[in-house]
C-alpha cells in the first residue's frame, strides 16, 4: 500500500501557537467566566440519580407529544412532572423520559410513597395512551441521591488529585500545576456546556467528565513529554520556542487521535441509544476542549511557572 496520506502532513509543522497564547488564554478565561455565570444563574439540569425521584422511559407512537404526557402526569397531583424527549432515535416511534419529583414524607414513608407514585404513573400512562409501552423505570430515594452526589463529586476530586500526584512524580511540580489548570479548565467548560444546553447531568456524565479528565491529561502528558525531551536536546533555545516546537512536533498525533476518538464517539452518539446520549455528548465536547486545552492552556502555562532545565539551578 503506497497511499499513506499521512505523508502529506508535515512532521515539523510550524504554527506559532505560543505567540497566540494571550489570545488563547483570554478566550479561555472568557469561556470560563461565561460557564461559571451560566452555572450560577441557570444551573444544571440534574438527572434522576442526583435529583432523586421517579422516572419512566416510555415508547410511544409518533403523534404523542410532550404536552399530552405532561397533562396525564400532572393530573396525578404527585408534583410537577418533567418530560424529556430522547433525540437521536433512528425509529418511527418516539422515546420520552417522564419523571416525577421525590415524594414528601419522613424516611421510609417517603421511600414507600416513591414506589407508590411509580405505580400510579405507570398505570396512568398505560391507561391513557393505547400505543405506549413502559420500557424502564427508575426510582431513586432521597438518601441514595444525596449519596450519589457525594460519591460523584468525590470521584472527580480523587481522580484529579491522583493524576496530579502521578504527574508530579513523573515530571516536576511546574508541569503538575500546568496540568491541573488545564484539567480544571476542562471540567468547568464541561459543566458550563451542560448549563447552556440543559442536557441531563447524571452519573454517566460524571463518568464522562472523569474520562475527559483522563483523555485531556493523556494529551497534556504527550506534549509535556516532548517538552521535557526538547528541553534536554536544545539547551540554548528559549523556552517559548521549545514549547512551540514541542506542540508542533506532537501536532499530527494530537489531531489524528482526536479524530479517531471523535469518530468512535459520534457513532456512539448517533446510534448508541437514548441512555448513552448525554454521555456521548459530554465526551465529544470533552475531547474537543481537552485537545484545545493541552495545546493552548497546559503548554503556555509552563511559560509562567518557569520550568527548570536539567543541570541549571533556579535563579
Amino acid at each position: 500500500m503506497t497511499f499513506a496520506l499521512i505523508k502529506y502532513l508535515p512532521t515539523t509543522a510550524n504554527v506559532p501557537f505560543i505567540r497566540g497564547r494571550m489570545i488563547a488564554l483570554g478566550f479561555s478565561a472568557l469561556l470560563i467566566a461565561f460557564s461559571l455565570f451560566e452555572f450560577a444563574s441557570v444551573g444544571i439540569n440534574f438527572g434522576i440519580d442526583f435529583r432523586g425521584g421517579i422516572q419512566t422511559e416510555v415508547e410511544t407512537g409518533a403523534e404523542t407529544t410532550t404536552e399530552d404526557l405532561r397533562t396525564v402526569a400532572a393530573a396525578l397531583n404527585l408534583g410537577e412532572p418533567r418530560i424529556q424527549e430522547a433525540g437521536n432515535q433512528l425509529q418511527e416511534s418516539r422515546t420520552f423520559f417522564v419523571s416525577l419529583p421525590l415524594q414528601p414524607g419522613e424516611g421510609n414513608e417517603a421511600e414507600l410513597a416513591n414506589q407508590a407514585a411509580r405505580e400510579a404513573l405507570e398505570a396512568a400512562l398505560t391507561e391513557n395512551f393505547a400505543d405506549l409501552t413502559v420500557r424502564g423505570t427508575t426510582v431513586i430515594g432521597g438518601a441514595v441521591s444525596q449519596e450519589l452526589v457525594v460519591t460523584g463529586f468525590t470521584a472527580i476530586g480523587v481522580a484529579l488529585f491522583l493524576m496530579l500526584i502521578y504527574i508530579w512524580f513523573r515530571f516536576e511540580w511546574q508541569y503538575s500545576l500546568g496540568a491541573i489548570v488545564a484539567l480544571i479548565h476542562d471540567v468547568i467548560l464541561t459543566v458550563g456546556m451542560f448549563s447552556v444546553t440543559q442536557m441531563t447531568f447524571d452519573l454517566a456524565t460524571v463518568a464522562a467528565i472523569l474520562t475527559i479528565v483522563g483523555y485531556s491529561m493523556n494529551d497534556t502528558v504527550v506534549v509535556y513529554d516532548r517538552i521535557r525531551e526538547n528541553l534536554r536536546k536544545y539547551k540554548k533555545m528559549p523556552l517559548s520556542e521549545v514549547l512551540n516546537l514541542s506542540i508542533n512536533d506532537t501536532l499530527s498525533r494530537t489531531i489524528l487521535t482526536s479524530l479517531t476518538t471523535l469518530a468512535a464517539l459520534i457513532s456512539l452518539y448517533m446510534i448508541g441509544g437514548a441512555s448513552l446520549e448525554g454521555f456521548a455528548f459530554a465526551m465529544i465536547w470533552g475531547v474537543l476542549i481537552g485537545t484545545y486545552s493541552s495545546i493552548f492552556v497546559a503548554a503556555p502555562i509552563l511559560l509562567f511557572t518557569e520550568v527548570q532545565r536539567e543541570g541549571t539551578q533556579p535563579s
Binding site: M1, T2, F3, A4, L5, I6, K7, T11, T12, N108, E111, L112, Q115, T133, R135, G136, T137, T138, V139, G141, V144, T154, A155, V158, A159, L162, I167, R170, L203, A204, V206, A207, L210, T211, V213, G214, Y215, M217, N218, V221, V222, D225, D249, T250, R253, L256, T257, L259, T260, T261, A263, A264, I266, S267, L268, I271, G272, G273, S275, L276
Partner: protein, 550 residues
C-alpha cells in the same frame, strides 16, 4: 526492540489464543455450545465446548432486562429491639432474685434500671452481670469485647445503666444482614426466577437483582414484607373500640383484622403461643370450610404439642394468627387439633395465597426492609440497547479502520489488526474474569476503540520523524518504538487512574464503564506496543523495504 525471542513469541501467542478462546463463545449460539435439556432444566456443554471455555460475557440488567432494587435495613429498629430485649431480660433476672425494680426502661441508647432500695444496687449489679458475656461474632467465636457496657450511675445511687457495646451492635448488624440475605434468597427462589443476585451493599443495604423481572412491585412486596408470624388467643372480654384505639389492660394487644371493610379490630393476649419458627412448611391447598384457595401449614413437633394443648384447653374460644401486626385469620376452636397442621383461609386468590406460602416457607426477616433505589428495564429495551451498542461498536470500528488505513497505509493495517485483537482481548477478559457488561460498558469499548490507536499513532509519528532524520527503516522502527514508550505509558496510566477511581467509587452500571475502560487500556498498550510491533517487524523482515511508506 526489533528482536523477539522464542519465549516472548510464545507468550504473545498464548495471550492472544486465550483472548480468542475466551471471547469465542460470545459469537456462537447457545444451543450449539450447550446440550439443553428443558425437561430436566439442565444444560451441559457439548462436543469441543467441554474442553474450551463455553461461558459468555455476563450481561448487566440494563442489557438483558430485569429489576434492580436496593433495600435499606432499618438498623435503628434493630437497635431498639436489642435494647427492649435486654430490658425484658433485666426485669426477669431481677424478679428471679427478688430484687424488685421501680422501673426498667429504655432511655435513649441505654437501659436504665431504677431500684426501689438503693442498698440493693450492688447485689442487683452482680446478678445483672450474668447477662453479660463476650460478643458472639458472626463466625460463632467469642469476641474480645463484652456485649454490654454496665455501670452504676454516679449521680443516682439507685440506678444502673446498661448500654450495648459497639462491638455487640456490629455483630448484631452483621447477623441481621446475613440472616436477611438468606431469607430474601429463599423468598426470591420461591418465585422460580433464574440467577437472582442478592448481596449486601455497604453497611446497611441489600441489593436484589432479578434478571427478567419486569414488575418490581412483585419483588418489593416479597422482600419488603417482614413476615413475622405469631399465634395468640383472642380475648373477647376486651372491647377494642371502634378504631382499635381503646385502652387495654396489660398483657393485651389490639390488632386490625386483614381484609375487613370497614376495618375490624380484635384484642388478643400479647403472649405468643407459637411463632413462625415453629412452622415447618406451608402450601396452597383447599378446605371444605372455605371457598377458594387456603394456605395449609405444618408445625414442628414442639409446635404441634403446644398447639394440641391450646386447642384442647380452649375449646370454644378464638385464636388469632398475626402476620406483621395484622390478624390474617381468627377461627373458633371447635375441637382439639392434635396433628400439628392447620389452614389459614378467607378471601385469598391463588396469587395472594402463593405469595403468603413463599413468605411463610422462607421465614421472617429480622428487620424491616425499605426499597430506596430501584430500576427496571424491560427485556425489549435491553435487547434494543445491545443491538444499538453492537451497531455503534461496528460503525465506530469501521470509521477508525478507514481512518487509520487511509492515513498510514500498511502501518495503518498493522494498527487496525492490533485493534481487532484488542477488542477480542477485551471480550475475552470480560468473559474470563467473570465481569459484567453493561450499557456504559459498551460505551467504554467504543471509547477504547477510538483511543486505543493513540499508542500506535504516537509510535508511527515517532517513526516518521526518525525517517526524516535519515535513519534506515530498521533503525527508524527501533527508535520509534523505543522513544514512544514513555509517552504511551504516561498517557495510559493517567487514564487508568480515572478508570480505577470510577471502579472504586462508581455505582451500578457506571462501574461497568470503568471495567471495560480499564481492561481496554491494558489490552491497548499490549496490542499497540507488543502485537503491532511484531507485525511491523515481520513485515520488515519479509519485504526488506528500502524506505518506510509513512
Amino acid at each position: 526492540m526489533l528482536y523477539f525471542g522464542r519465549w516472548k513469541l510464545l507468550a504473545i501467542f498464548v495471550v492472544i489464543l486465550a483472548g480468542v478462546l475466551y471471547s469465542l463463545p460470545n459469537f456462537v449460539p447457545e444451543d450449539v455450545r450447550y446440550e439443553i435439556d428443558e425437561a430436566a432444566g439442565t444444560s451441559e456443554p457439548r462436543g469441543i465446548w467441554r474442553f474450551i471455555p463455553s461461558s459468555t460475557v455476563n450481561l448487566g440488567l440494563d442489557l438483558q432486562g430485569g429489576s434492580h432494587i436496593a433495600f435499606q435495613v432499618d438498623m435503628d429498629e434493630v437497635r431498639t429491639a436489642q435494647l427492649e430485649g435486654l430490658a425484658a431480660d433485666a426485669r426477669q433476672t431481677l424478679r428471679n432474685e427478688q430484687l424488685l425494680p421501680r422501673s426498667v426502661a429504655v432511655i435513649g441508647e441505654e437501659v436504665v434500671v431504677l431500684l426501689i432500695r438503693e442498698e440493693q444496687r450492688d447485689q442487683a449489679f452482680e446478678s445483672l452481670r450474668q447477662l453479660n458475656g463476650p460478643v458472639t461474632t458472626v463466625s460463632g467465636q467469642p469476641g474480645l469485647a463484652q456485649m454490654y457496657d454496665m455501670r452504676r450511675d454516679p449521680d443516682d445511687p439507685g440506678a444502673i445503666r446498661i448500654g450495648v457495646t459497639d462491638e455487640q451492635f456490629e455483630a448484631i448488624k452483621e447477623r441481621t444482614l446475613r440472616q436477611s440475605i438468606t431469607v430474601i434468597r429463599r423468598r426470591i427462589d420461591g418465585l422460580g426466577t433464574t440467577d437472582p443476585t442478592i448481596a449486601r451493599s455497604g453497611d446497611d443495604r441489600i441489593l436484589v437483582q432479578v434478571p427478567g423481572a419486569e414488575d418490581p412491585q412483585q419483588i418489593i412486596d416479597l422482600v419488603g414484607t417482614q413476615a413475622a408470624l405469631s399465634f395468640h388467643l383472642v380475648d373477647n372480654t376486651v372491647d377494642p373500640g371502634p378504631n382499635g384505639q381503646a385502652r387495654v389492660p396489660p398483657g393485651r394487644t389490639i390488632y386490625p383484622v386483614a381484609n375487613t371493610q370497614p376495618v375490624q379490630y380484635l384484642a388478643v393476649e400479647t403472649r405468643q403461643l407459637l411463632t413462625g419458627e415453629n412452622l415447618t412448611s406451608a402450601n396452597v391447598t383447599t378446605h371444605p370450610s372455605y371457598t377458594g384457595p387456603v394456605v395449609g401449614f405444618r408445625l414442628d413437633t414442639q409446635g404441634a404439642l403446644v398447639f394440641g394443648d391450646i386447642t384442647t384447653n380452649n375449646r370454644g374460644r378464638q385464636f388469632a394468627i398475626v402476620l406483621d401486626d395484622e390478624i390474617i385469620t381468627a377461627p373458633r376452636i371447635n375441637e382439639p387439633i392434635l396433628g400439628g397442621s392447620g389452614v389459614i383461609g378467607g378471601g385469598y386468590t391463588y396469587d395472594t395465597a402463593s405469595q403468603l406460602v413463599i413468605l411463610l416457607n422462607a421465614g421472617a426477616l429480622p428487620a424491616t426492609l425499605t426499597p430506596v433505589e430501584q430500576y427496571t428495564i424491560s427485556a425489549s429495551l435491553g435487547r434494543d440497547q445491545i443491538e444499538s451498542g453492537k451497531l455503534a461498536i461496528m460503525i465506530g470500528f469501521a470509521a477508525v479502520i478507514v481512518f487509520m488505513v487511509v492515513a498510514y497505509g500498511v502501518f495503518g493495517v498493522f494498527s487496525v489488526t492490533a485493534l481487532l485483537v484488542n477488542v477480542v482481548l477485551i471480550l475475552g477478559g470480560l468473559s474470563g474474569l467473570g465481569m459484567t457488561l453493561t450499557l456504559p460498558g459498551i460505551a467504554g469499548i467504543i471509547l477504547t476503540i477510538g483511543m486505543a490507536v493513540d499508542a500506535n499513532v504516537l509510535i508511527f509519528e515517532r517513526i516518521r520523524e526518525e525517517v526524516q532524520h535519515g535513519r534506515t527503516p530498521a533503525n527508524a522502527l527501533q527508535a520509534g518504538y523505543e522513544r514512544a514508550l514513555a509517552a504511551i505509558l504516561d498517557a495510559n496510566i493517567t487514564t487508568f487512574i480515572a478508570a480505577a477511581v470510577l471502579f472504586m467509587l462508581g455505582a451500578g452500571p457506571v462501574r461497568g464503564f470503568a471495567v471495560t475502560l480499564g481492561i481496554g487500556i491494558v489490552t491497548s498498550v499490549f496490542t499497540a506496543f507488543v502485537f503491532s510491533r511484531l507485525l511491523a517487524v515481520l513485515w520488515l523482515r519479509g519485504f526488506k523495504p528500502k524506505q518506510l511508506p509513512i
